[in-house]
Each structure stands twice: as structure tokens, then as C-alpha cells.
């Protein structure tokens, strides 16, 4: 068949199809190219490049202006010199040319000489080796001849060449200099100019470079659609973190964070401000903690400030940890929605929806954390929690969880978990094994029903009067349960074995209140009789302690007054007899004091501030409820046919006991309380490990949407206290929504489920409602912590323990313990701070600075400056130097010791340099109370309260009162030996006999796994670590034989000399030494017994203390006993006369070698002749002792 032109399809049609598809394809390509070109992140980068350009130009202008003001005159000068030099070079061109040709010749000559020299050197070396060969062969004669004839000549020749070479080099140098001179030293001038314009030039260079990369013509072309496939100016930027994996359910995959693709300015200093000074658009802004928040050590070993985040010098460098490990979100996303941004409130949400078409990414398990929960992620790595004190919301949440005892029901941490471990937290409720000896049964039932009615701020949550059991129909069962539990507790209660009938009678109620104030009760408790209004205004804040229960209504708890008196007196005397691990410490009070305080507390009538409705135990309805409950629980034990019989066979009491036990077991009361019969029960709540990553599909939201919509909408858009944000979060079934509602209205998930056929009584939700349920701030604090419990396993290299120091951990650990035992209720950890903001008028704050400087300067006369303050100088004839105030911010830390009109006097506790003058601790500064910014002290609430109150009442000196109050613990780590402090926490003894109150004995430790030793050592280490002192052990070189031998040889009778200074000097007036009482009399015993010093003090601190005590504790009553210049201290031995520093050290070393000194005194028989060696019974009036050597004036009664 002949071929024809006919085709299967019409060619024309095909052409059309082809044409159309080609066009479509082209369009598709164009579309594709444009779609790629216009991807949101590229737009963002382009905008950023423009901003960057502007920023650089701005910086250039700035640098130029700076250069102008700072260097312009020098630049002009140098430029003129350069011009002159150029002119000079033209003028001298002939001479220069001539010199240059000369130079060339000289250069040639020198090179030649150099070569010759090298050859000659090689020649000499070969000759020498020939000589060595001759020696080896024993041809010594030939060798000598060879040396004389050849080698010597060769050496002379080399010397000659070297000389010539040096000459040539010198003339070359001078010729070069000459040329430079002829050219006017132009090279040096140019270098000088470069130095002056360096800053601006550098910016200029950056601009040129960036121009090439981003905004020049070349960049423009490379950025054109289509062409930008090759080397575009816009690029995705990512950090790969192969070890910081993300869990994709079945596999851990490397993390890629591309956040900086858009957040371009995140790591750029100065990008907090947009060009022109406005705040930068948030997407381009630098990280708020880019330059501040952390401390790092620079190469020279100095501490410098670093950025807490992003900064590579800080702990969270951008390239080390990326972004999403903290912020959450999808790091691989390069689009606003796909990176799973999360709005912080409904307002932001609506804005985002409008602006970025944002929507919730339901399929990404870890959405970005909204700002309100940002601190959650800290605990992914910081399992210690307290090692990130900057995360204040998280800390508050942690403290709340610990305080309210969430861990009683919900396990946090423990074996196999990854995250914070709270298993060492103790039960927060009192021991109920002896409850019968304490409160009345009626009170107990009402308390169980609604503890908040009796004490609104109690830690005990409410199990009743909540949404799933507050209906009228529920009340019989509620009453039956409440009475059953009370019945069970009382039936099982045994009397506390160690409680005794108080051996003394009360001495009068006024004394009790005085003691209540004086003995530090207010450090933990509040009472209506000591309400804030009864204290001076400045310290009212400190009368609101809530660490322990508010004691206002205590007397309403007891069955009878006699019962209460006995119980309370015993409890105050020794709480451990009732509750072994009570947070209430043993205050080491006498029986008399305990009885008096108890008596006073009981004179204040107590009442229920809010009525609690509770039907009686024998009310027929209650009985009916009890029967129903008995049946309910019995039905699980016996078969249905036997049920009626079994219930009928039980007496009323048996039913109560039975239902009581079941209810306690169901509600988990034993989580917080010690209850007989429940010792081995396990906590009833969901463990919270990894709850922060729990899939919302595993949470039962019940009918929460219906619950919310059935609540009235209030004016502020909340429904039953749930605000708009959480309403949405609940409807969307998110984790945070669930958690909020669980804490806010724990039983609301039972809504419409409590009908018996849906949920039986004992299947209803059990989570109780805490007193903070209606405080959204408090709820969010707890949520911040719980949401951080993601259980994510983080590679070891990212965890704090891989780079933090042991000291840092010790501080964090100690912070927890200090909190646990409320140490700051009595002790000051940091004095108040007073500051002057940058740019304030100096005189408006420092009202009497000249006087302050003068007084401070003159006070240096009594310092051992060169030993303890080597940088400070003092010349009695000179005036102190004060520099101009340059507008810098100033902060001082010290105790406000008095105010007169607006003049506030602050006594410094930390050294500070202001305007070039260094003020030492105990120096005072006068501040204007109105204009200064005050930051309150950390801790010491009771001490501030008591000192201020007494100073106001008696007119005594505020500072001096502190001698009898709990001491501030600043510098404590540098002061005491850590082993001593550990032992002291376990067994506190009387250090200072005259204090108003004693250091209590705390009930440290939890159980065998977490014994008292760990807490005691943890507390002691904290102080050392905080002050950067050595811990846990210290070496005391002053006790070493070599040291003592050296001192003995320099100052014969060294330790006895120290002893003499102490016993003949002022020490013994206030201090007891061993069994010898101070000569000032028993009532004036202010100082610690010096026998204790050896184990207590660190040597460096002790020397500084003895040299000038007020520099360490400004309010101290201890005078300076050895002054650096002036009259000799009494008792100074001959070997130390006129050497005050030696005397100070001798006293120190004597104290540190106490036993040795005593032994040597006894051996020498000297001790007998010493005045103090006559044991004086404290009650007998003292007689002036016969001083050593009859020197009654020095050694006598002073």
C-alpha cells in the first residue's frame, strides 16, 4: 500500500493541542517560577535586606559623626601632613631617584655578602667535621696542625664577612630612612590616618560587601525570577542539630531549625531598634536576651556579661541548640502557619488570622509555646528547676506545686523518668495518726467538708461543694462520707507517746503575746492579733507570712481548752513528737515559753469565718446516704444475693468505719497525710511525667463545651471564671485548655455524667479544687511547670551537667532547701538595693555625698588597708578624690538604718565605687528617700519586722537590735567552715547566748532514701557555693605544723601571745572561753563562746573579722580591739609589740588552735595565774582577778 500523507490524528488539531499545551506549560513554568520567587520568606528577606542597608547607612553616618567629634582635628592634621609629604616627594624626586638607585646597589651588595657568608659558614662546618674525624682516628697531632692552618683562617674569614654584612645592612637601613625622610615619612602618616578612620571604614567595607551580595546591580540580576534558581540573594538558612532530635513517634530524627530564614535580625546586636530609632518589627528584631542575662568568662579570665540566648558566648548559643527546642513549633517550616506559630491571646490570634491567614496546625504535636508558657521548656534540660531562677513564672509554679503537695497524688520524676524529680518532696499535710489528741471530731468533719471555709488560704484542697457533688441529692452521701472519714481517723487515732503534761503553769497571757512576737512565730505564721496594721508602715508587708497556717482561729479547732493547751504547748515545745517530719521546726523553747505562747493563742477566740452546712452524723438522711455507700462498696466484695444480709449485719459504727476507709482510699488522703492503715498505698493521681507531651486525644474532655456554654457569660467574657482564651483552647481540645480547666474547675469534666447510670458515685472525678483555683495567674504558674514535663530525652551534651560547675548545682539545690524550710522567713540573704537610674540628677538622690565621702575616707584610718583592701589608699593629710558624675546608673546594697525627714541613711553591706571613691561595708550613704529606687531585701522578713517594731517603740538603735536577731547570711559561705555548718543544721547549739530567739532545729530529710544528712549538707554547701568558697571541705593551713613552727620562730611564744591578747584584752569582757564566763557579767554575754571558733570559722574571714569587725557585719557590737596604728592593744606580748597585724593573726591562730593553746597553757601552769582561769560561777559577783604578774589594770575586771 502506497504511503499517503494521511495521519491517524489531524495534524492541525495536533498543532493546536501542542500549541495550547506549550502555552499552558510555559504559563505553568512562569507560574512556578513566580510562585517560587514570591514565597513569603523570600519577600521577608528582601524587606530585611532593605532594612539592613538602612541600618548600615545609619551606622556609617553615626560612625562618621563620632569620628568627626572625636578625631576630626587629628584627621585634618594628618591629611595636611600627607599633602605636605606628597609635595615634598615631588620636590625631592631627583634626590629620591638617586637614592633609590643607590639603594638598589646597596641591596645587591648585601645579597652578595649574605651568600658569601653562608658559603663560608658551610665551608667552616665541613672543615670542623674533618677535624672531628681526625680526633676519632687518634690523629691528634695532624688535627692540631689542621686547626692552626685551616680552621682558624676560615673562622677569621667568616668573622670578616659577618662584619661586612652588618655594615652593609646598616647603610641600607639608613638609606631607606633617608628616602622616607625625603618622601616626608608618608607611609607612617597613611597608617595613622587609617587608624583614625578605622571604625567608619569598617562599616563602609561591610556596605560594599553586602552591596555585592544583596542589593547591588549584580544581586538584582541574580534575584530576578527564573534566574534566582542559581545563586539568589535570598536563601533558606538552617541550623542542623543531628543530636538534638525530634521524636516522630517511631523514630528520633535530626532537628532542622530554619527560623532565621525570616528572623534575620535575631543574632544581630543593635537590631532591637529599626532605622530611625523605633522598635524593630518583631520578625526582624534581635533576641531580647542577645546581649544580657548571662555571665561568661572571657579569655583573660574576667567575668563579662553575655547573652542568655542566641549569643555564642552565652549558655544557649544559636548554632549549638537552635530555636525550637525551647520555643517549640515546626523548625523546618518556612511559612508563618506551617512553622506552627502560636498566638498568646485571642486578640493576637485574630490579628494573625487577618494578616497572615494563620490557622492552628492540628497535626504538629509540639506547637510553638505561646509567650505565657514560654518558660515551660526550661525544664526539658534544667531538671533541677531552681538552676534557672530567671524563669520566675516557672519557679512560682514549682513552688506552688511543692507547697500544695501536688506530688502527694501525682508522681513527678522518679525511676525511669526524664525530667525534674520531685520525689524527695515530703507529704504536706499533718500526721493524722494522733488526731484524736488534737482536734474535735465535729471540727474535723466540717474541715473535711470545706477547709476553705475555716482557713481561706489553706493548702488542703476542697473535695466537696464542687461541681460534681454539690447538688441537693448528693448531700446525704456527702455528709455520710465526711462523717465516715472523721470516724475512721478518730477510731484509728492513738495518743502521741511523747506528749506529756506540761511541767509548768502559764505565767500570764501578756507574756505569751510578747513571746509570740519575739520568738519568731511571725516568720511563718500570721495572726489576726498581730495584723499588719499593728506594725510600722514600712514593714507591714512582713507581717503577712503564710508559710505556716494562719493561727487566728486556732482555738476553734480543739475539743476543749485544757485539751488545746496541752496539745499546743507540747506541739510548740517539740513538734516532732506529733509529726516526725513536720515543717514546723523545734524552736528550742523552754517549757515555760511554750506554755505561755500556747496559753496566749488560746485566749483569742476562734471561729469559722464561713458557715459550713453539714447534716449531723445521726441525721436520717445521712444514715440513708451511709447505707447507700455501704451497699455500693459491699457490692464489690460480696455477691448480690448476700448483699442485703451483709449490710444489715453491720452496726452504724462499722458502716462508718467501712465507708471511711473506702473513701480515704478513693480520695487519696494518704498522699498528703500519714494515716493509719494506708502506709503502703500508692498515690492515686495520674503521674505527670511526660504529661506536657501527652496527646490531647488521650484526654477526656467530657461535655466541657456544654458545661461552658451553660455557664453565664460575664462582662469580661469569662464563663465561670474561664476566660475567652481558655474557652477556645478547650473547644479546640488542646492540652493547655484541659489543664487550665482541670485546675480551675477540676470536676467540670463530669458535667452531665453524674447521673447514676452514667457514672457511679465512686467513679466520679476525684481531683479536688485548690484555694488558688480562681486565681488565673496562680493556675498558669502551675501550668507552666506541668506543660514543661515533656519527658523528651535530650542528649547528654545539652544538659546543664555537661557544662555547669558543681557550685552552680549546689546553689540551685540549696535554693530548693532554703525554700522548703523557709530560711528567708528569718534570715536576710541580700540587703535591700537602692539605685539611681541612668541619667538621673546625682544630687537629687545622693543628698550629702561630700560628707559621705569624707566620713568614708576618714574611716579608712582604722582599716588594715594593704592587707585586706590593697587597692585602697589613705593619707590623713590628703583629701579624698571624687570624680565627675558621668550619668551612669548606680546601685548600692545595704541596710537602711535611719530616716530623718527625706534623708535616708543606708549602711553599706557590699563595697561600691561611686564617682571614683570606693565605699566599704559599714560606710554610710545619705539618700533622698523619695527619689531613690528601692529594691526590697531578699529574706529576713521577721528580722526586719521585729527590729523596726522595737526601734519604733523603744527608740533604740535599729542596727544594734540586729545583734539579737537572726543574722543576715551575706558572706556566710566565706565565714564558716562547711562541715561545721552541716553539723550545726543537724544540731543547732547556742552560738550567741544573748539572742532573742534560737536557731530552730529543723526536721531535715524525708526518709531513709533521703536522710537528714543530705539536706544539712545541701544547705551548708549552698552558702559556700554562693560565695564561691571552697566546699565541702576546707583546709586550714593555720593548723599545720610548718606554719606554726614558722610563726613560733618569728614571734617566740606565738600562741601564748595570742592567748594573752585575748585574756588580757577586751575579748573576755563579752566572750566566754570554755567554762570561764565573760568578765562583763552573765547578763552581758553577747559574744559566742570562743571555744567554738576553731571549728566554725574560715581563717581568712576570721582574720578580717578580728582586724575590723564592722567591715563584715556593719551593725556588730564587737569593737575593733587591735587598731592598725595608735596605742598598743592590752596584753600584747613583747615579740609582737608595734605589729598590730601580727597580733590580729596571733589571736586568729590561737583561736584556730584552741586545744593546743589550752594544753600549752596548762603545761606551763600559766593558765592558773590567768584571771579567767579562775572558774567563776556565773551567779557569784565577780572580783577583780589577780592579773598575770600582778598587772591588775590590764587583766582585771574590765
Amino acid at each position: 500500500m502506497p504511503a499517503n500523507e494521511e495521519t491517524y490524528r489531524s495534524q492541525t488539531t495536533l498543532h493546536v493541542v501542542f500549541a495550547i499545551s506549550s502555552i499552558a506549560m510555559t504559563l505553568a513554568i512562569v507560574w512556578m517560577i513566580m510562585a517560587d520567587h514570591l514565597r513569603p520568606w523570600k519577600q521577608v528577606q528582601r524587606e530585611f535586606h532593605a532594612i539592613e542597608h538602612e541600618k548600615l547607612e545609619e551606622s556609617k553616618t553615626e560612625k562618621l559623626a563620632e569620628q568627626k567629634t572625636k578625631n576630626q582635628s587629628s584627621i585634618t592634621e594628618v591629611e595636611a601632613k600627607i599633602a605636605a609629604a606628597e609635595q615634598l616627594a615631588i620636590d625631592n624626586s631627583r634626590a629620591i631617584r638617586q637614592k633609590e638607585s643607590e639603594l638598589k646597589k646597596l641591596d645587591g651588595a648585601m645579597v652578595r655578602l649574605d651568600t658569601e657568608k653562608k658559603f663560608q659558614k658551610a665551608e667552616l662546618d665541613s672543615q670542623r667535621s674533618l677535624y672531628d674525624g681526625m680526633i676519632d682516628r687518634g690523629e691528634e697531632r695532624e688535627a692540631r696542625r689542621y686547626t692552626d692552618s685551616v680552621i682558624v683562617a676560615s673562622e677569621v674569614k667568616l668573622g670578616e664577612l659577618t662584619r661586612k654584612y652588618e655594615l652593609a645592612a646598616a647603610s641600607l637601613g639608613s638609606a631607606r630612612k633617608e628616602i622616607n625622610g625625603l618622601k616626608g615619612n608618608i607611609d607612617d602618616l597613611r597608617k595613622e590616618k587609617d587608624r583614625l578612620t578605622r571604625e567608619a571604614d569598617r562599616v563602609e567595607r561591610v556596605i560594599v560587601q553586602k552591596d555585592k551580595q544583596y542589593y547591588g546591580i549584580g544581586a538584582l540580576i541574580r534575584g530576578l525570577p527564573g534566574l534566582d534558581l542559581a545563586a539568589p540573594p535570598t536563601k533558606i538558612q538552617q541550623i542542623s542539630l543531628p543530636e538534638l532530635t525530634i521524636n516522630y513517634n517511631f523514630k528520633d530524627v535530626p532537628r532542622y531549625d530554619r527560623c532565621m530564614t525570616c528572623h534575620q535580625g535575631i543574632d544581630r546586636i543593635g537590631y532591637d531598634k529599626a532605622p530611625g530609632g523605633q522598635p524593630m518589627k518583631s520578625v526582624y528584631a534581635a533576641h531580647p536576651f542577645l546581649t544580657t542575662g548571662a555571665i561568661t568568662i572571657d579569655p583573660s579570665g574576667k567575668e563579662v556579661e553575655a547573652g542568655l540566648y542566641v549569643d555564642s558566648n552565652g549558655p544557649h548559643g544559636l548554632n549549638r541548640i537552635g530555636c525550637t527546642i525551647c520555643h517549640g513549633g515546626n523548625g523546618s517550616g518556612t511559612d508563618f502557619t506551617y512553622s506552627s506559630h502560636e498566638p498568646n491571646d485571642p486578640h493576637e490570634k485574630h490579628e494573625w488570622e487577618k494578616e497572615y491567614s494563620w490557622r492552628e496546625m492540628h497535626h504538629w504535636d509540639e506547637p510553638m509555646l505561646p509567650t505565657r508558657f514560654l518558660e515551660s521548656s526550661c525544664i526539658k534540660c534544667h531538671h533541677q528547676v531552681t538552676d534557672v531562677p530567671q524563669a520566675t513564672k516557672l519557679q512560682a509554679g514549682f513552688e506552688r506545686i511543692v507547697k500544695f503537695g501536688c506530688t502527694g497524688c501525682h508522681t513527678i520524676g522518679g525511676e525511669g523518668s526524664f525530667g525534674p524529680d520531685l520525689t524527695d518532696e515530703r507529704q504536706v499535710g499533718p500526721n493524722l495518726k494522733h488526731i484524736g489528741s488534737k482536734v474535735s471530731k465535729e471540727w474535723t468533719a466540717k474541715w473535711i467538708k470545706n477547709p476553705h471555709a475555716f482557713r481561706p488560704d489553706t493548702r488542703m484542697p476542697r473535695f466537696y461543694d464542687v461541681t460534681n457533688n454539690n447538688k441537693e441529692a448528693d448531700q446525704p452521701k456527702v455528709a455520710a462520707e465526711v462523717h465516715s472519714m472523721a470516724h475512721y481517723l478518730f477510731a484509728k487515732s492513738t495518743p502521741p507517746v511523747e506528749f506529756v503534761e506540761p511541767p509548768v503553769k502559764e505565767s500570764g497571757t501578756d507574756k505569751g503575746k510578747e513571746l509570740f512576737l519575739q520568738k519568731g512565730c511571725l516568720a511563718c505564721h500570721a495572726h489576726k492579733e498581730t495584723a499588719p496594721e499593728s506594725f510600722p508602715e514600712s514593714v507591714r508587708e512582713f507581717a503577712k507570712a503564710n508559710f505556716g497556717p494562719n493561727l487566728s482561729n486556732i482555738s476553734a479547732k480543739f475539743a476543749s481548752k485544757e485539751n488545746g493547751q496541752k496539745w499546743l504547748a507540747n506541739w510548740i515545745k517539740a513538734p516532732e513528737a506529733y509529726h516526725a517530719k513536720s515543717l514546723m521546726p523545734n524552736l528550742q523553747l523552754s517549757w515555760q515559753d511554750s506554755v505561755d505562747i500556747a496559753a496566749w493563742i488560746l485566749t483569742i477566740p476562734g471561729e469559722w469565718p464561713k458557715e459550713v452546712k453539714l447534716a449531723g452524723e445521726n441525721d436520717p438522711e445521712t444514715k440513708k446516704g451511709l447505707d447507700e455507700l455501704t451497699r455500693l462498696y459491699k457490692s464489690k466484695l460480696v455477691s448480690l444475693s448476700e448483699l442485703d444480709g451483709a449490710v444489715a449485719a453491720m452496726t452504724h459504727d462499722e458502716k462508718l468505719l467501712f465507708v471511711g476507709e473506702k473513701t480515704i482510699g478513693r480520695l487519696g488522703c494518704f498522699g498528703c497525710h500519714n494515716i493509719a492503715g494506708f502506709e503502703s498505698y500508692k498515690p492515686i493521681g495520674t503521674p505527670l511525667n511526660a504529661w506536657g507531651a501527652k496527646s490531647p486525644t488521650k484526654l477526656d474532655y467530657g461535655h466541657i463545651t456544654e458545661y461552658l456554654s451553660d455557664q453565664k457569660l460575664s462582662d469580661d467574657e469569662t464563663r465561670d471564671g474561664t476566660d475567652e482564651y481558655y474557652q477556645e483552647k478547650l473547644v479546640e481540645h488542646t492540652r493547655s485548655g484541659f489543664l487550665y480547666q482541670k485546675l480551675h474547675r477540676p470536676r467540670s469534666y463530669d458535667y452531665k455524667k453524674t447521673d447514676e447510670d452514667l457514672k457511679a458515685w465512686d467513679e466520679r472525678l476525684r481531683m479536688p479544687q485548690f484555694t488558688f483555683a480562681d486565681d488565673p495567674k496562680a493556675v498558669e504558674e502551675v501550668m507552666t511547670f506541668v506543660l514543661g514535663l515533656t519527658g523528651e530525652k535530650i542528649a547528654a551534651k545539652y544538659l546543664p551537667k555537661s557544662y555547669s560547675t558543681p557550685a552552680k548545682f549546689a546553689v540551685a539545690d540549696g535554693a530548693k532547701l532554703l525554700n522548703r524550710h523557709n530560711c528567708t522567713g528569718c534570715h536576710v540573704l541580700e540587703m535591700p538595693k537602692f539605685s539611681l537610674a541612668k541619667g538621673t540628677n546625682f544630687e537629687e538622690v545622693f543628698t550629702d555625698f561630700a560628707t559621705n565621702v569624707k566620713v568614708s575616707y576618714n574611716a579608712r584610718a582604722s582599716d588594715y588597708l594593704s592587707t585586706f583592701y590593697p587597692k585602697l589608699k589613705y593619707d590623713p593629710k590628703a583629701e579624698p578624690v571624687v570624680a565627675e558624675y558621668m550619668g551612669e546608673a548606680i546601685t548600692i546594697e545595704g541596710m537602711p538604718i535611719g530616716q530623718f525627714e527625706d534623708d535616708l541613711t543606708v549602711q553599706l553591706w557590699k563595697q561600691v565605687t561611686i564617682r571614683g571613691h570606693t565605699f566599704n561595708p559599714s560606710d554610710t550613704l545619705t539618700l533622698n528617700a523619695k527619689n531613690v529606687i528601692k529594691v526590697p531585701a531578699v529574706g529576713g522578713d521577721f528580722a526586719w519586722l521585729y527590729a523596726t517594731m522595737v526601734a519604733e517603740q523603744s527608740g533604740g538603735d535599729f542596727g544594734a537590735l540586729w545583734n539579737r536577731l537572726p543574722p543576715p547570711l551575706l558572706r556566710e559561705g566565706k565565714k564558716v567552715q562547711t562541715p561545721w555548718l552541716t553539723a550545726f543544721f543537724k544540731d543547732p547549739y547556742v552560738v550567741r547566748p544573748a539572742t532573742n530567739l534560737r536557731m530552730p532545729k529543723f526536721h531535715l530529710g524525708k526518709d531513709d532514701k533521703y536522710p537528714a544528712e543530705i539536706e544539712a549538707a545541701g544547705l551548708a554547701n549552698y552558702f559556700a557555693a554562693k560565695d564561691r568558697a571552697e566546699f565541702p571541705y576546707q583546709s586550714i593551713p593555720e593548723r599545720e605544723q610548718g606554719y606554726l613552727a614558722k610563726q613560733e620562730s618569728d614571734h617566740p611564744g606565738y600562741l601564748n601571745g595570742g592567748w594573752s591578747l585575748m585574756t588580757k584584752g577586751a575579748c573576755i569582757q563579752c566572750h566566754a572561753i570554755g567554762q570561764y564566763m565573760p568578765t562583763g557579767g552573765a547578763a552581758v554575754v553577747n559574744g559566742p563562746n570562743l571555744r567554738q571558733v576553731a571549728n566554725r570559722f574560715r581563717p581568712e574571714y576570721l582574720a578580717e573579722w578580728l582586724a575590723n569587725p564592722k567591715r563584715l557585719i556593719p551593725y556588730t557590737a564587737m569593737p575593733q580591739n587591735v587598731i592598725p596604728s595608735g596605742p598598743e592593744a592590752p596584753g600584747a606580748p613583747k615579740s609582737m609589740t608595734a605589729q598590730p597585724l601580727v597580733q590580729v593573726k596571733a589571736i586568729r591562730d590561737t583561736l584556730l588552735n584552741y586545744v593546743q593553746t589550752i594544753e600549752s597553757q596548762m603545761a606551763a601552769g600559766v593558765a592558773k595565774a590567768e584571771p579567767t582561769a579562775t572558774p567563776k560561777p556565773p551567779e557569784a559577783p565577780k572580783t577583780p582577778g589577780a592579773g598575770a604578774g600582778g598587772d591588775g589594770g590590764d587583766g582585771g575586771d574590765r
Binding site: T851, K854, V855, N858, I897, G898, F900, E901, D903, T905, S922, T924, Q953, S954, G955, G956, D957, G959, A960, N963, G1065, A1066, Q1069, C1070, T1079, G1080, G1081, A1082, A1083, V1084, N1086, K1110, T1116, A1117, M1118, P1119, Q1120, N1121, I1123, P1127, E1128, P1130, P1178, E1179, A1180, P1181, K1182, T1183, P1184, G1193, D1194, G1196, D1197, R1198
Partner: protein, 303 residues
């Protein structure tokens, strides 16, 4: 002990002064030296030369008869040339609460128990006159050079005698020295909480030390002995010579006060400030005596 020689010479220098005071005063009770202020004689004479009626700046004229009170309060400040004398009396309005002697606690040193330790918070004498009140002018409009010189060169003795600070209230001017001494057989420490003049020194038996006063303060400050907790005293360190501590009868006298309106402050331990802390306006007449009495409300005395 180290300074024992000083003590003798001081007594010698004090004797002529005592005579001067006796002559100028008109008391019949023998030498009546103010315990707080002892000015060496030569300076007193220089002061006398320039201003006819100037003797020691703060020595009270014991037994001065209460003169008719010059109307002192005025609304507008009066400026005037010349110098005048401000005198008067501080007395108690109401009944003396009569504070009992101070308790010494357990087992006090026998040195301290030879006599009861008086509570000197409020010392009321004849006619309800209050001893140990301070009348002073913190910010005078002018300062008389002679008065200043006299006050600055004064040496003020602060003794510890039978476990009591003597005097209980002391006023001095910057530039002067406080001579701290212990006449007791027992040692003390002088722990001064006085603003800008704080110190804490152990003073051995018979020891004497000089404390130079370099800076002033705006109000009296407390001085205590930490060994004997009942021992208290008050010091006022001023940067001008216009102050006086009242005597047993409550009288005070300040000489060479600039004429015109002055803000006068009166302080008494039991009530702290009798006048407003900034002072009460009093017009001092030139070349004459201005009498101004003050009263302390017994009801306001702190227990």
C-alpha cells in the same frame, strides 16, 4: 593608761575656766560647769573681746531668772544685723512619770552596782525644768567667727563613771574633739551610732582617747556600751556653735546668735523633737537677750 598624763593636764586647764564661769554666772551653788561643754579659757576671752556679752557659747547661765517671754513666733522672716543672746527654759507640762532606776540584769559587775543607775530619758528638776534637752539652730543665717572659733577649739569630755555615761547628752561642734575617758575600774566600749561620727572602740579602765569630730549630722544620735546594755547617751555634732544642753533647772543660753529670724530646734530624749524637725521660727533681737521657753508634753514621753 596610755593617756593618763592627758587627764592631769586637762584638769589643770579646766580649773581657770571653771572660775570664769563662776564669775559670769550668778548661781550660788558654787562652780557650775556644764558637763557637756568645757571650753578652754583663752578662747573664751577672745570671744569676750569682740562681743561684750559673749562668754562660752553654750554654758548655761545657771539660775537665770525667767524673764518675760519675748513674742517670738512671727510670720515673716526678720533679717537684722548684729548678734544677740537666746535663752530660756525647757520644762515639763504635766506630771513627771518618774522612771525607775534601770535594771542591770543578772550578775552585773560590782563596779556598776555601787549606786542605782538613773533612767535619764527624762530628768526633771525644780519647777519641772528638764535637764538634757538640746536647743540648737541647725542652719543659722550667719555664724559669729568668735563663737565658732571658741566652739571648735573646745574639748568635750565624755566619761564613763560607775557604769554611766557622763554626760548623758552632749553637744559639740565639728573641729572640736571629744575626749572619751573611762573612770571606771571596768572596761567599756563606746559604740557610737551617731550619723557621720560612728565608732566602736573598747575603752579600758582609765584609758582616754580623743575623737576628732569631722562631720556634722542633722540630729542627735545614740551612743551605747554593748557590754553594759543599760548605758546610753546622745551626741549632737553640729557644724555651727549654736547649741546648748539644758541644765538641772531646764535653763539654756546660746550667745552670739545672729539677729533676726532663726529656726530653732529643741530635742529631748523622751519625746525626740519638741519643735518641728526643721525648727521653730524665733526672732532674735540684736545686742540683747531674747527669751524663749519650751515645754515638753508629759503625755508624749515614750515609756
Amino acid at each position: 593608761m596610755t593617756f593618763a598624763w592627758f587627764r592631769n593636764s586637762l584638769i589643770l586647764s579646766v580649773t581657770p575656766l571653771a572660775l570664769v564661769v563662776t564669775l559670769s554666772g550668778c548661781g550660788g551653788e558654787g562652780p557650775n560647769v556644764d558637763e557637756a561643754i568645757i571650753v578652754s579659757a583663752p578662747d573664751a576671752t577672745t570671744a569676750t573681746k569682740s562681743a561684750p556679752d559673749a562668754t562660752t557659747p553654750a554654758a548655761p547661765s545657771a539660775g537665770a531668772t525667767p524673764a518675760a517671754t519675748t513674742p517670738a513666733a512671727s510670720t515673716a522672716a526678720v533679717t537684722a544685723e548684729g548678734w544677740g543672746t537666746l535663752k530660756g527654759r525647757v520644762s515639763l507640762k504635766g506630771t513627771d512619770p518618774k522612771f525607775p532606776a534601770l535594771g542591770l540584769g543578772e550578775n552585773p559587775s560590782p563596779v556598776c552596782t555601787t549606786q542605782p543607775i538613773p533612767n535619764e530619758k527624762l530628768v526633771v528638776g525644780a519647777d519641772n525644768g528638764i535637764k538634757y534637752a538640746i536647743v540648737y539652730i541647725p542652719k543659722p543665717t550667719k555664724v559669729n567667727e568668735d563663737a565658732k572659733k571658741a566652739a571648735q577649739t573646745a574639748t568635750v569630755v565624755f566619761d564613763q563613771d560607775k557604769c554611766v555615761f557622763k554626760p548623758h547628752v552632749l553637744a559639740a561642734m565639728t573641729g572640736a574633739k571629744i575626749k572619751i575617758r573611762s573612770s571606771d575600774a571596768v572596761g567599756h566600749n563606746v559604740d557610737s551610732k551617731v550619723e557621720n561620727n560612728s565608732m566602736n572602740s573598747a575603752i579600758g579602765s582609765g584609758q582616754e582617747i580623743d575623737v576628732p569630730l569631722t562631720s556634722a549630722a542633722r540630729r542627735p544620735g545614740l551612743v551605747i556600751c554593748d557590754i553594759h546594755s543599760w548605758m546610753t547617751a546622745y551626741w549632737l555634732i553640729l557644724d555651727n556653735p549654736y547649741f546648748a544642753v539644758t541644765d538641772e533647772k531646764g535653763n539654756y543660753e546660746i550667745k552670739n546668735v545672729p539677729a533676726g529670724t532663726q529656726k530653732v530646734v529643741v530635742w529631748q530624749e523622751g519625746v525626740t523633737f519638741v519643735t518641728p524637725t526643721s525648727g521653730q521660727d524665733i526672732v532674735v533681737a540684736a545686742n540683747g537677750e531674747t527669751t524663749q521657753d519650751f515645754s515638753v508634753d508629759a503625755a508624749k514621753v515614750k515609756k
